[in-house]
Point group: C2
Chain length 119, copies 2
Amino acid sequence: MSGRNTVVSSLPARVPLAEYEACPVTEVFRRFGDKWTLVTLMLLSERTHRFNELQHRIEGISQRMLTRTLRALESDGLVQRTVHPTVPPSVEYSLTPPGRSLLGPLAEIAAWAVGREPG
Amino acid sequence: MSGRNTVVSSLPARVPLAEYEACPVTEVFRRFGDKWTLVTLMLLSERTHRFNELQHRIEGISQRMLTRTLRALESDGLVQRTVHPTVPPSVEYSLTPPGRSLLGPLAEIAAWAVGREPG
DNA sequence: CTGCATCCCTGCGGATACTG
DNA sequence: CAGTATCCGCAGGGATGCAG
């Protein structure tokens, strides 16, 4: 949407494609609209998890997708990855403060979604 | 996530795939994570639009995708489609009350997204 | 004007096998 | 244990053409 965002500010007569694709709000939904990001984030909101823990708690996720999901969250600065150089290696994932700050707004959406559930 | 939602309630030891996919919160993000739904919704939050108006205001969208996007929003009950049987036909799209009720939560996400923009 | 039908291309995501 | 590499199918989405 606008270079800032479309949800808050008023919209131009014609929404430029480039700006829309650069819109941070759009970006958020595209990120969390993928298959595994949301569950992963929610599990991490409980507590720190090891890689294997996550894989066992999320039914149906493959190693590949868990890795990709975590890497994406990490590069977004929402998740912190900590490697313990033991043998065998142990890697812990936890939410960063920005990651936690998302939980509030997320709960808003959740409340809305749940509120219109069946009827 | 859980049959209700994962964001609010506590998570099971193992998140069942079926329940996660049925989670309304997940569903919301998947819906709005697609390419055109968010802009469309935002334009409609301003006022009622005709099909052609929308297509001209959203740079880069194809007829096909605008149709699909609107149909999806309609079947979600977020958008109302009104056909005026004139020649040539005229079709108007507007937000339903449920559609409007989404704007608040959406603004929360927007604020969060904008808040962490560049730095 | 407002669509639907068709073709095609790309990227998401699953399955499997291999490494430090 | 925690990944990476490879292959591959499928759905999202663009371009174009036709229709009521």
